[in-house]
Every structure is written in C-alpha cells, then in structure tokens.
Symmetry: C2
Subunit: 306 residues, 2 copies
C-alpha cells in the first residue's frame, strides 16, 4: 500500500441507493475513479443508476462485481452483510480495500470475522458516514451529500494501516471529515443520536395514524410536525436491520428515554409546572448550545478556508 | 357589528412576542389598523417592538393598553390569562372584540367565563393560529408568519356573530385560512399534533444532555437530529403553561404513545425484525401520505390563484 494520492481503478458499490449512489457520484466528481460497477437486488434501480451515469456497469452477482475491484464498498441493509460477504469472498483480489457504510458497526465486524480470512479482515475498514436524507434509491443520490459531514471509521486492532489510509482518503475525496473511534463507542453514540430519534419519529407517526381522528390530525399538523417526523419517511427495511444490529444499545437508550418522558408525564399529572419549566429550560439550553456549536464550527471552517 | 371590510381603530396586543408581534406586523402590512399598542412584562422587549415599528406605543398596565381598543388580542403565556383579564376587565369598551392565540383553548375559556361579564364573553372569540417557529420575542416576529397557515377559532355557543366575523377577517388579513371547531376537539387534536411532539423533543434532548458522553453525542449528531429537536428550542415557560392547560388530553396521548414505543422496544428485545418492519412501513406510508397531501394542497392553492 502507498500513501500517495488516492486512485481507484475499479470501485465496486454493493447497494447503489442514496448512500452508495452518492458516494459513487462524489468520487466520480473528485476524479479518483476509473470505473464504477454496481451490485443490487433490484435491476430496475441498477439500470437507472447506469442511465444516470452513477455507475458504468452492473451485475446481479456480488462475486462478478467485486472481481478485479481495488475498492469494495458495502452499502446494502445490514442484514445482507454476512450473505454478501460469503457470496463474494473468494472473488476478492489480494490488493482490494474493503469497507462499508453501516449505521451499526458491531454486527458488520462480526459478519466479517465469521466470513473473511484473517488476511482479508485486515483490509476491511468498518465505516459510517454521518449523512443522509429520508429518501431512498439511486434517484435520491447526489455528489454533495457528504460535504462537511463526518465519516466515522472504526478500525480493527489488526487493521492494515495502508488500507485504513486509503478509506480515509476516499471519504476525504467526498468532502467529508474523517474521525476514528472504537466499534463499541460508535454503536453507543449512534444509538443515542440517530437510532433513538428514528424510533420516536416512527412511533409518533404510527401512534397518530392509528387514532380515529387521523385525517384531521394530519390536516392540522404544522411545520414543527413536518420537521419532527421527517426521519419517519426513512427506509423501513434499513431501519429494522439497524435495530436488530444495535439491539442492546438501543434498548438501553429507549429505557433511559422512558425515565425522562415519565418525569414529564408525572409533572403534568401532578400539576407541577415548575418541574416542567426546569426540564424544558434545561433541554432548550442544551439544544441552543448544540446549534451554536454547529454554527461556530461552520464559521471556523469558512474562516480557515479564506 | 358590521360585515363590511375590516377596520381596526386601535389594536391592543398583550404579549408582543413572536406570535403577537407577527400578528401586529401582518395587520399593519395589510393596512387594516390605525394604531397598535402593546403590553408586556418586559419593558426592553416593548421598547424594541416600538423601535422596530411593530407597535406605536406601549404601557406596563393591561388596563391602560386596552382602554379605547376596538380589538384586543391576548398573546401571553396561558398561565397569565386569568390575571390579565382581571386587570383589564373594567377598561374594555362595549364595542371591543376580544380574542387570544393560546395553544390550548379550554383553560382560556374557563378564565374568560370566570372573569368577564356575560356580555363581554359573547365578544371573546377563542383563537389559535397554527404557525410559529422555535424562536421567541419580538425580534423573531415577521409579517409573513401566518401566510397559508391555518387559524383555528373555537367559538362559544353564545358567541356574537359579528365579533366572530371580525376575528375571522383579522386572520384572513394576515394571509391565514380560518377554520372553526369545538374547544374540546381543538384541545384533543393539538395534544396529538403539537403538544406530544414537543414533549418528545424536550425529553430526548434532556435525555441525551444528561448522558456522560453528551459532548460527543452532540458532536456526532447529524441533520436528522437538528430537525427532530428544533422544537426543543421553543419557549419553556410557554410550553409548561400549555402542558398545565391541556393536562388530561396530553396525558392521554402520552399514554397512547407509550404503547407504541413499548411495541417497538418489545420487537427489538425479542429480535422480531418482521414486526419492526411492519411498524416502520406503516409509519413511513402515513408520513409520506401526509407530505403528499400537504404538497397537493399547496399545488391546488397555486392553481386556483392563477
């Protein structure tokens, strides 16, 4: 491996949807790829991807796509990881870098450990770009998706430094900033910041949709509701997989959340306005601080690029 | 009362914040007001409102502000309604229309029934514009806030038709569409569409902010989290009051929500991916339908105005 400028001769994207498609577009735009090949289960989606120029060609067998690829990216729902690795494992060339984009990393690493050879495992760099929209499919993909977003890598202890470097370069080429952390830490943090909010949004919409007054409820919902429930339009299959993959951490944060919503309910039921005011003020201060830091970071970045 | 074009000689706004300030700006822009006077407890905010031209003058006593006003709008937090009505009641002129903007209507009507004369009560039209942002104070107000939004009126059985008409005209002058419904129905619907999501957003931010990893959690939060928690930056005092004012309905929807989040938790804990997929798919379909209808309505409106 070399630390020279990133060059990908043949990029294999398994799962050419919002995430995989946007990565392909971003790397094509950055001029670091010669050829991009796609795999997926939905041939219509792959044809669209080809017609849009997101991929150059596709195949319906994982092994056919990874053959000769020097960068292999898994971007399918988490429950498919083990099966895909089995199907493609013998076709992976000895110089190929492997990575994925899954929202939970423990289950991916387990599938890799069960399937890949120790030598292949050293070349598999678990990754997760912190970006997305509520839309799905290649038509929703765009080259700018990762710009100024974080891409988290969770290197294995036995990771090959060159391949880690290569995946780092790949995300940097999309405009993302790369950070590394342990698998366990990633899965705990993401359970709180991403997986829990998705559960709340799905539960809320399902709750309201089941009410007798559902038509009126949706009629009288305002902008706050639209924003709040945006993530409930996310891909259900992908999210069911994430829940299964990050089960223990998600159960923990759901239980922690439950103690907070119970405190609020108790304060309302007992008419304790002061307790509510204290909770809401604390939450508002935290959220306002989060937004201030976000803006500060954006500002610093603009200043440093001037 | 007349059904002629709306003309307000002297508009009294009690509470010149985001909602009251935006109403003043919108009515001024529509050219339907001669003079706008403001009341509030924070003199700095009132001075700013005057400097910005949102109000012409202000006073620190409710009675002084409503004297000679032919349109009186209560736009302060709900817990202040009864006290304000007591302080201003004898200064209200016999031709004045009264209304409010509170997010829960039962408690406002109770305060009115306890305080106003039967004749004054006939002129009080409970109202609630379904619009807002997470910001507070007159500096956050803008004339366009109510354009294409709904304003709900919950007329009393003994309502004077002329004053109801006048409040309807007032909201139409801001660009809002007016609908009417019963107080009970309003408070049930709003508990579900607005009050419950605010509780979830406050509880989520408070939950994450209390975690040991809070700095990292906020660092790795993406766009979905920002949107999801936007409403947790709302005015805590206002929301504590809304919870107290709509207590029974809010407890009911919190309990209903709890059954849905428990179903999700149970499916995760028992590894039932199919059950999760069913819940998430149902929620996604409902949310997508809600957005389609919203866009359809927007499109119809554009077409009918062509």
């Amino acid at each position: 491996m070399t630390t020279d400028k990133l060059h990908i001769k043949r990029l294999a994207i398994l799962g050419v949807g919002l995430i995989g498609g946007s990565l392909a577009r971003a790397l094509r735009r950055a001029g670091v790829c010669e050829t991009i090949v796609g795999y997926g289960r939905n041939e219509d989606n792959l044809r669209t991807a080809q017609a849009l120029g997101v991929i150059d060609s596709y195949a319906m067998q994982p092994a056919a796509v990874v053959r000769d690829a020097d960068m292999i990216v898994l971007a399918t729902p988490l429950s498919t990881t083990a099966r895909l690795l089995q199907q493609m494992q013998t076709a992976i060339i000895p110089t190929a870098t492997l990575t994925d984009v899954g929202s939970a990393k423990g289950s991916v690493v387990k599938a890799c450990t069960d399937t890949l050879t120790p030598e292949q495992l050293r070349r598999f760099v678990p990754g997760h770009p912190i970006a997305g929209t509520e839309k799905s499919g290649v038509e929703a993909s765009f080259a700018e998706l990762y710009e100024d977003h974080l891409a988290i890598l969770t290197p294995l202890p036995q990771q090959d430094a060159g391949h880690l470097q290569r995946v780092t370069r790949m995300w940097e080429a999309t405009g993302a900033r790369v950070v590394t952390m342990t698998i366990e830490h990633h899965d705990q943090i993401l359970a709180a910041t991403s997986h829990l909010p998705h559960m709340l949004a799905y539960a809320l919409v399902d709750c309201l949709a089941g009410m007798q007054t559902r038509d009126e409820i949706f009629r009288y919902a305002a902008g706050g509701f639209t924003d709040f429930t945006r993530i409930a339009s996310s891909n259900p299959r992908m999210w069911a997989d994430i829940c299964m993959a990050n089960r223990d951490n998600l159960i923990s944060v759901l239980e922690l959340f439950d103690t907070h919503i119970r405190d609020i309910k108790h304060a309302i039921a007992s008419g304790n306005g002061d307790a509510l005011l204290a909770i809401f003020s604390r939450a508002k201060n935290s959220r306002d601080e989060f937004i201030r830091n976000k803006l500060e970071n954006g500002k610093r970045k603009v200043e440093s690029s001037e």
